[in-house]
Subunit: 273 residues, 2 copies
């Protein structure tokens, strides 16, 4: 049996967005090996039902377990909001999501007890951010807003186009007219629009990206359970990338996001798991 401490951490997302979480884990936990899975054959998750997102998440966790991962991070906000509770008790390794870390960072950031949350349709409809924030601080007012066009705009490379500014205004005008002072980017694609969102909302609203807090929580989890990789010499490949479709497209995108070279990406028929 493999040594548990040198075993990799599994990270998954509906597609490429979770790479922003991998990037943060690699930065904060440089000794950990990571296996990433992006469900590019079935992306996006944000418009799909809870039952389907739970089934997809279960398949991915079963696949990651074949790689002997010691813990799993659900890097996708939609799957964290809709599937974490269902899968956490089902598997014998720790599974964590991005919603609780993101919520905690926002609760710590807000001064006037008003937090905004932007995310996919499914994440916002689940009300999970509001629920988790209220468990941490029942006096906080939470305003959630679905921004479903943000993901296709990022994927189609419209980051700098005038249309993106107009779509941001369309979705966030009501948010700007409130007195929230912290806003959670509750979808892993949204950090890629961060500077445009900040330009529109102004400096009075602190923008919270759950990736940073998620990596901190993972670090604490591994320490608590004595699962940290103690700086063992790195294996042949520290970071492995798997997808359910279009590996080359993913690899190219990954190389624009990650601070190291991603030489290969492997395709998995995830429906078989």
């Amino acid at each position: 049996m493999k040594n548990r401490n040198t075993a990799p951490v599994g990270v998954f997302d509906s597609g490429v967005g979770g790479l922003t979480v991998v990037r943060e884990i690699a930065r904060q936990l440089p000794d950990e090996n990571i296996i990433y899975f992006g469900d590019t054959a079935r992306v996006p998750y944000g418009s799909k039902s809870q039952n389907t997102i739970i089934r997809f998440s279960e398949q991915i966790i079963r696949f990651l377990k074949t790689k002997h991962v010691k813990a799993i991070v659900i890097a996708c906000n939609t799957a964290s909001a809709l599937a974490l509770d269902a899968v956490r008790d089902e598997f014998d390794i720790p599974v964590m999501g991005v919603v609780i870390p993101g919520a905690r960072a926002a609760v710590e950031a807000t001064r006037n007890r008003k937090i905004g949350v932007v995310g996919t349709d499914a994440t916002v409809q689940s009300g999970m951010y509001t629920k988790v924030i209220h468990e941490m601080a029942s006096d906080v007012t939470v305003i959630e807003k679905a921004c479903p066009l943000f993901v296709p705009l990022v994927e189609e490379g419209f980051k700098e186009h005038v249309v993106t500014r107009e779509v941001i205004e369309y979705y966030l005008e009501s948010m700007r007219n409130t007195d929230i002072d912290a806003m959670i980017l509750g979808c892993t694609h949204y950090p890629l629009l961060r500077s445009k969102i900040r330009d529109y909302l102004g400096e009075k609203i602190q923008i919270v990206n759950p990736a940073y807090e998620t990596a901190m929580d993972l670090k604490e989890l591994l320490r608590e359970q004595n699962m940290e990789n103690g700086g063992a010499t790195s294996e042949h490949s520290r970071y492995s990338f798997y997808v359910s479709d279009a590996a080359e497209k993913f690899r190219k995108f990954a190389n624009t996001v990650m601070p190291f070279d991603v030489p290969t990406t492997n395709v998995v028929n995830i429906e078989e798991y």
Copy 2:
């Protein structure tokens, strides 16, 4: 064994878009029973690879065959372009797509032998419309353009928003500056933006919606093979609708597109087929 003539026609699409084809078949072939499948758990297809789209199409055809369909219409342009050749010889019932009928309508419409095609990334990258048009008329110049934001704009209800006009201009400016006189709406979502596209392109370009020609071709196919339903009394339900996710959302959308009431939609775990 069931009577082949009264057996239903199977129609499938990646999601809701193919309903525009069902609507046309119901209008032109009012005696035919139809079973529709929308792959709402894995929508969209337009950004995915050929292997994946073939695998999805095979699963759907296997499902439709359990319903004893006599013929299958691939209402999705992406699946027609990328999977029709692969699946046509694999199954023992006739399978037709929307690309050939759409191409023929455009070839008949053009006077100055220049045709434009708009579609998803996958459809345009396949070059299938150009290939099929050149088999029909090698002297025709074809200009293809992927418009990947059109689908999310339709799905998010942005049809009347100023952003949609700007995205149309962004994608179609180069098309307007050519002298094409016919343009194929090579994605089943695009007819829902037809009036906006026409406003932008002007009257000199005839807009071709493959749905109409597809229904005509289906009629001819059924007649040739003596499979027409001879006006037998309608069964309990003439039209049945199946999806892989989010049945109620689909049903509501279907009721806005179809000229008759869609009382129920059934969910199928398509990955099991």
